[in-house]
Structure formats: C-alpha cells, structure tokens
C-alpha cells in the first residue's frame, strides 16, 4: 500500500506487520508501556563482575537475543566490538544488535554478520555497515531505523524488547550508578541509554573508571543496573567530534550559514526568548555563530537551545545570549566541561526532548531548527539516510523529531555536492516529510514551503534571495551531466520508521547502477 508520502510500503516485512505513515501527527498512542520484570536484591548483594565474558555468563545471554548499546563515543566507540567479539567466543548466534548508532569504527562487525553471530540490526548505520547491508549483506531481517525519539518510543512501547543492555560508562560506581561527564574518558551524557537501562531485562554497566560510591550525576541509576564490569577501554573521546567541529571555511557553506541566520532574523520568531536547535555540522556551527552576532546586535536573549552542545553554543551561554542549553549529547570537550560547571547547561534524554508517545517534548517548544540532508525534493521531503547511489549510509539522528517539533525548520544544503545535484525530483528515501520542513536554504537561494506563504512574504520583504526550488534545481543541473541512478531490487534491506512507529519509507537492495 502507499503511505501518506506516496511510498509503497509492504504489509509485512521480516514477520512484522507494518503500519504505513499517515502524516506527521496523525496517530495517538494507546495501551500500556512494556515494562521489564520486577526484581529486588538483598542488602548484601554485589554487582561487580571481573569481565565481559563473566557478564555474558551471568546474564544468560543466548542465541537470538537482543543486545543494546549507546553511541555517544560515536566513531571512537570500543564497547560494541568487544561485546560482540565476546559473544562470538561464547559461540552465540543470531543476535539482534540494537545500538543507537553504528559508525565506521564498527566495521569489524561485518565478519560477525557473515558468520551469523549477528542476525539482525536495528538502529542507525553510518558508513561501512550500512553500505554492506545495502548490497544484500546477509541479515536475516531488514534493519529498522528510528529517530532518537522514535527509538525511545519503540522501547517503551515494547516494539523492541532488549534482553541485555550494555552501557559504556566513562564513570561508574560498583553499585551501578553511572555518568558520561566525569572519569578518564568523558564522552558527554549517556542518557541515550537510560531507556535501555530501565526497559532491558538486564542492564550491564561497563566502565573504564570505577569511582567510589556514589558516582554522580545519576544518568544511569543503581536501581536499574544488574551488573558492573570494569574494562581497560570503552572508547576514545577524541573521536566524539568525528572531525565535524570546525566552522566551515568554504565560501559556499558560509554563505548558506549566513542566509540561514538571515532567515531566522527576518522571521516572526526572532524576538526575545526565542529558542533554537544548533547542530554540529560545519554549516550549523557557522549559523549558530552568526545567530549569536545577530542576537547581540538586536539585544535578544534566547530562552533555550537544544544541543548537540559545542563550544560555539557554550560561548553563547557564557555571554548570556542563551539562558539554558538542553543537552542530549555533547560534541566536544568544552561542552562536557560546561555540563560539569554551568548551571544553565542541563542534561536531558531523548524521552525528554523527542518522544512522540509522551506528554511533552522539548522540540515542540522550539522556534527554529537547522538541519542538513543528503537530498531534498520538490515536495520539500528530506533524505538523510541514503545517498544518491542508493546506499544506506546514515542514521536519522534527531532529524525527524526536531523537524516535526520546531515552528520553523530550515534545511541547509548546497545546491551541488561535487557533481551531484542535491535537489531532486523525488528523494531516494523519505526520512522527514515535506509537511514539517519550512525553508530550504542553498548557496543559490532560499526556497519556502508553499504552505508557509506568510513566512515567504517576510523573507522577500527582508530582501533575501527567495526563489522557487525548481529554479535552483535547474540551475544546478545545468552545470553537470545527469548522474546515473541506482537500480533497486525487490528485497527490502531497511525500514525507515517515522517517530510514531509508522513506516515512512523502506530501503531496497541496490542491484547496480544505470
């Protein structure tokens, strides 16, 4: 059947019945949450185990079970590979890997997929694992990709039952309290895993820095934790930035950032108390810097900003231009330091900021948000998952949650990436529907969603280069020969969920290119 963005969605995939996407805010939750079993412990019980192998024994991890991880060391993560290696040593098979996100550092998993240790993956796949899966990489069932809020919802709703959660903790005590902002290798908040820790049948905290009781803040709590393991290495925080944390020097990208900031300034939202989300890409960093200058000039204070926290956002906090930063994941050392020191810098979890099936989300309080995309189309749909070659190379992150929440969602993209036009007739994969995207800012001009005529008029009145999306597309296409396109097979290799658990698109196997 076709869903509300015109994508053909099969009724059943991998034994699972799919609900087609009906619209950004079309569904309402019902039923009860899927809590873990009750368990209490005696007053003398200890939780410390000598090794990951011992933890596998203690938890009784078995074939076909689901293991989960958080991704806040990003491309520096060292836990996923260690645990899966241990599972392979133990002879386990057909595990379902439910990490919030996988990165190029997880390339060794390919071997474990081929050998059958891992049978299924749910979660973001950035880089080689995604490319492998896209080309028919031997998973038993298609992967399922969810947004930050969507993953939280899926765990609470019982769509995904976690057998054992492994939580990399830069600091933990032996009783299972843990956090990510202290210790030898702080990676920033590990609250992404707090839903895992509360809903998994068993929770194992893995740390490289065992601290005296009580280790705090209590991002992960003793009442949720079954076991604690100390290991030499859980991750390299040098890689949390993944090399993105430089303001771009490219004149093209600086122009995009400048225009994005100008859109905010010209919008009705740029008044005292306005709120925004600032990401960590090179364009977003420059946008935040420009926005800071504009707030200074206009004498405006922002009520709150949602991170990824970076030194640029922290700078605005210190200068009193932003009153509160809500932080789900830190993107540099400055942000982590600020979390330890600054009152106005508050750790949150995805349930707080992004959960569709909840009684409130911070993103719904956002005025403006800046997001990227690999492609956008003439319906204003955005793709962040696949590239124009059809390969699944990125996760959703908070894209859907922030886009759906913010009053004005701005997508910043260059009109051309190398020889590839970024504005296309139909995006390869719909990650985020055009109905929640208001403005697309490119180096060749600004396009406003036709549903936002009043916003368009304001931008035109401010002298900004507002153009039709199609016109920008044609201008870019005139500069290159048309590129080839992927040829997709019938086999579905991944399901892209909207944040409410409905399916907005599926990704099919790439058979070749034409």
């Amino acid at each position: 059947m076709k869903n509300a963005v015109g994508r053909e969605i099969p009724e059943v995939v991998g034994g699972r019945t799919l609900r087609p996407f009906e619209g950004a805010f079309a569904t309402r939750a019902s039923g009860r949450k899927a809590a873990r079993a009750q368990k209490g412990i005696g007053r003398d019980e200890e939780k410390l185990l000598p090794s990951l192998d011992a933890a596998l024994e203690a938890t009784g991890l078995a074939d076909g079970m689901t293991i989960s991880f958080h991704h806040c060391f990003r491309d520096g993560d060292a836990l996923v590979n260690q645990v899966v290696d241990a599972c392979a040593r133990k002879g386990l098979r057909d595990l379902r890997l439910f990490a919030t996100a996988l990165f190029p550092v997880h390339k060794p998993l390919l071997e474990h997929i081929e050998s059958g240790v891992i049978g299924r993956i749910e979660g973001s796949m950035n880089g080689p694992v995604g490319a492998f899966v896209s080309q028919g990489g031997m998973l038993r069932d298609p992967a399922v990709l969810r947004s930050h809020g969507g993953r939280w919802r899926a765990v609470e709703a019982g769509d995904v039952h976690i057998d054992v959660a492994f939580i990399a903790a830069p600091q933990a005590d032996a009783y299972g309290n843990a956090n990510g902002i202290h210790g030898k290798t702080p990676c920033g908040p590990i609250t992404f895993a707090s839903v895992d820790a509360q809903y998994a049948d068993q929770t194992v905290v893995v740390t490289n820095d065992l601290a005296p009781y009580p280790a705090h803040p209590f991002e992960i709590q003793q009442g949720w934790t079954d076991y604690v393991v100390e290991v030499d290495e859980i991750g390299d925080p040098g890689n949390i930035a993944s090399g993105t944390l430089q303001i771009t020097r490219s004149p093209t990208r600086l122009r995009i950032a400048r225009l994005a900031a100008d859109v905010v300034v010209a919008s009705p939202y740029f008044v005292d108390g306005f709120s925004f989300q600032g990401g960590a890409g090179g364009v977003s960093l420059a946008t935040v810097a420009y926005l800071g200058e504009e707030m200074e000039r206009a004498g405006i204070v922002s009520s709150f900003a949602i991170g990824g926290g970076t030194r640029f956002l922290i700078d605005l906090l210190h200068r009193g231009r932003v009153r509160t930063i809500l932080e789900g994941q830190a993107f540099d050392i400055e942000a982590i330091r600020s979390l330890r020191e600054d009152d106005g810098h508050v750790t949150i979890d995805p349930g707080h900021y992004a959960n569709y099936d909840s009684r409130g989300s911070s993103t719904y309080r956002l005025d403006a948000a800046f997001l990227g995309a690999t492609e956008v189309d003439l319906e204003f749909n955005a793709n962040v998952n696949t590239h124009s070659d059809g390969l699944l190379l990125h996760g959703i992150g908070g894209h859907q949650d922030v886009a759906a929440g913010a009053s004005m969602t701005i997508i910043t993209v260059p009109a051309l990436r190398g020889r590839l036009p970024v504005i296309v007739d139909r995006v390869t994969t719909v990650t985020t529907p055009g109905e929640v995207i208001d403005v697309i800012v490119t180096d060749r001009g600004i396009a406003v969603n036709p549903a936002r005529e009043e916003l368009r008029d304001r931008l035109v009145a401010a002298g900004l280069p507002v153009r039709e999306l199609e016109e920008i597309k044609k201008e870019a296409e005139a500069l290159t020969q048309p590129a080839g396109v992927p040829v997709f097979g019938d086999e579905i290799i991944a399901v892209i969920e909207w944040r409410d658990g409905t399916v907005i698109d599926v990704v099919r196997k790439v058979e070749g290119w034409a």
Partner: protein, 389 residues
C-alpha cells in the same frame, strides 16, 4: 612531437587530467561514486576532445567533484599542451555588455585556477567579480588558468560584472586576451599600468580580438590598476588613454614596494588623491585597493569609509565576507538619500518648466550637485536591490 601534459589539481571541485600520445582516443576515469558519475565525466571528455579536434590521445582523469566546465577546461588545457594540432575550443559570449557608469562598489577577487573558490563566487552579491590570472596564479598554471576562466565565462550565469585580471602584456597578458576575449568578459583589468601607452596597447589587442571573433567593437571595458610610482604620476593620461577605461584602481601593496614607503594612511593619501583627481578629470570611476586582513571587519569598515570620503566609488575585496561591509560603507545615509531625492525632483521640475536655476532648502543647486544627487540615488538603489548580504 607529442609529450605528456597535466592540468588541474586534486583540490575539491577540480580534477587532474593527464594526457599523452595515443593513436585513438582512450579515456580512463577515476572518480567517487563511479557508477553514478563516470559516464557523465567520460561524455564531457569525449565532447571536449572532439571540439579541440583531437582524435588520438590517452586521457586520464582523476576527479574530485569537478563540474562540466571545469572538466572541459582541464581536458582542453592538457590536450593543447600534449597533442600537436589540438586547437582552442571556441566559445560564444553569453553576457550582455554592462553600462560604463554602473555601480562598482565592490570588486571581488577570485584566483583564476582554483575551481573550489570560483564556484559560486557569483552568489555573494559583489558588483564586480574579478577572475585573476596574474598574482594568484603560479607561472606553471597560467595556461590552464586562462582556459578555465574562458570556460567559466562561457558557462556560468551571473548578475555581477565579470572581469578578468590579465598579466602584463610582456608577461603573458597577450595570451590571456586571446583566450578570454571571445568569451567576452565585461572588462579586462590591467595590472601595473604605467602610462597611456600600456592602456592603448591592451585596447588595440582587445579591438583586434573583438574583430576576429566577430564581436561588436568597444564593449569590453578596461580597468587599469595604478600601483607604481610611475603609474601614479601618469594617472591622468592612463585614465584618459582610451574610451574603454571606465575606472582606475589603486594597488597599495605594489605601490609601497615600489616607493619604499611604509604602510600608513598618510603614505597612501597622496597617490589615492592623485588617482581620484585623475579619474574624475577623465570622467571615470575610482576604486580603492584591497584590504588584506580578512578577519578585521572594523578595520575594513573604517578604511572604506575613509576612501569613500575621498571620493572613491568602490574597493577591492579578497573574501566574500568583505562584500556586504563595502556595500554598507558606500551606501548613502537616509538623510543623504532624502536630500538627493529632493534635489533630483526639483531639477526635473525645473527642467520640465524650462527654468535654469534650482533651489533646494534655500540653496542654489547647480549641475554637478544634481549629478551627484543622481549618483547617490543610484547607490541607494544598488543597496536596496543588490543583495548586499
């Protein structure tokens, strides 16, 4: 005799093209995303070889995201160096000539052989774009650069005025002209102009090339850069040397080197004032030197205001971020615009009624005042419609 030749670089938006002799056309392509991109790249290379009259050559392309016009330029440059009988590819002019008195508040420099910096340079709202074949291009890249700028001029549409800074005539400037004039830039910027003969020599070459290409005569402007002691002393004859001259530009860096002066407002005041007077006496515009500290917005702003007060019409920029600052500084204040409107309105009314003398705010307004008021209004319009941000 044939030899191997290389053009381009591995920088983003560029490609390295290596050409050697071969009996038939052999094209190999290395690029990201080969299944998507290789066929297009191959098609451009084939088309380019055909246009250059080459049927036998081994062309190796290593692509880093080059657009079609960049690929064409690199292939053409390498073919012409490596293959005897390869000819320059003809291009058709695609832009309308500009008015000699148009707004020229900013002239944004862009190195002529760096596709990454050339691409999208037209999006920054500068009044004039200046594609540099001189100082920004190392000697070994001069040939490839002029081919690249030719293809850029023939391909990319832009609202801004498109200028090419050529090398001095005794250092490759003639070859620059041969290459780019058929693509008809709005103008040619002549560095190190020392006297009227320098300008006339360039004007004659341009006229001959216009004729050869079948272009309407006299539509390519000249912007001489005065940047030596001798040039400064001859500014008046440089400005008046040829009707193609629409503006004089000042180049401080070379002037300081030539005179031995140390950089200060005072040391540069006389050449600036001399150049301004020379320009005005010939009825042309005057444009100031670049401000080389890209990170110093305040310094740029105050220097620009100071040269505006000397009478300058514009200034050079070496980074897009400088453009809006220049436009702001050259924009007249609201009071100035208001007064200019009243002067022009009064003058038009007087003209309509056949009255000679005009008074505004109780003061006599004569012809130069009216002209200046018109210029003020043009500047104000430029700011409003020019997309200075």
């Amino acid at each position: 005799m044939s030899r191997e030749a290389v053009a381009g670089s591995d920088g983003r938006g560029d490609c390295v093209v290596r050409v050697s002799a071969a009996k038939s056309l052999k094209i190999t392509v290395r690029c990201g995303n080969p299944p998507l991109l290789e066929p297009g790249i191959r098609a451009v290379a084939e088309r380019t070889a055909e246009a250059a009259g080459v049927s036998g050559a081994a062309i190796e392309i290593a692509d880093s995201g080059a657009l079609d016009f960049v690929l064409s330029a690199r292939v053409e440059a390498a073919l012409r160096e490596a293959v005897d009988g390869a000819t320059a590819i003809g291009v058709a002019p695609q832009r309308k000539p500009s008015r000699r008195d148009r707004l020229r508040r900013s002239r944004l420099y862009s190195p002529g052989n760096n596709p990454r910096l050339l691409l999208g340079i037209e999006m920054h709202g500068a009044d004039c774009l200046l594609f540099d074949l001189e100082d920004a291009v190392p000697p070994a890249e001069k040939a490839a650069a002029r081919v690249l700028v030719k293809h850029l001029l023939a391909t990319v549409t832009m609202d801004a005025e498109a200028w090419v800074r050529i090398n001095p005539l005794d250092a490759g400037g003639g070859e620059d002209l041969v290459e780019v004039i058929p693509a008809r830039p709005h103008g040619v910027c002549l560095p190190k102009a020392e006297d009227g003969d320098d300008v006339r020599a360039v004007a004659e070459r341009i006229a001959a090339l216009e004729d050869e290409a079948g272009l309407e005569a006299g539509l390519v402007w000249i912007l001489p850069i005065v940047e030596t002691a001798r040039g400064t002393l001859h500014a008046e004859e440089i400005a008046a040397a040829d009707p193609r001259v629409v503006s004089l530009a000042f180049g401080a860096e070379d002037y300081l080197r030539d005179t031995g002066a140390r950089r200060s407002w005072e040391a540069l005041l006389w050449p600036r004032a001399q150049l301004l007077a020379a320009a005005r006496s010939a009825g042309v515009q005057a444009s100031d030197t670049v401000y080389s500290n890209v990170d110093d917005d305040d310094g740029l702003r105050s220097e620009t205001c100071a040269v505006r007060d000397l009478g300058f019409d514009g200034k050079g920029a070496i980074h897009p971020r400088q453009v809006p600052i220049l436009h702001d500084a050259f924009a007249p204040s609201e009071e100035e615009v208001d007064r200019a409107r009243r002067i022009v309105a009064a003058a038009e009314e007087a003209e309509a009624q056949g009255i000679g003398a005009v008074t505004v705010d109780g003061r006599m307004v004569d012809r130069p005042v009216v002209d200046r008021a018109r210029r003020t209004l043009a500047l104000a319009d430029g700011t409003e419609g020019g997309g200075s941000r």
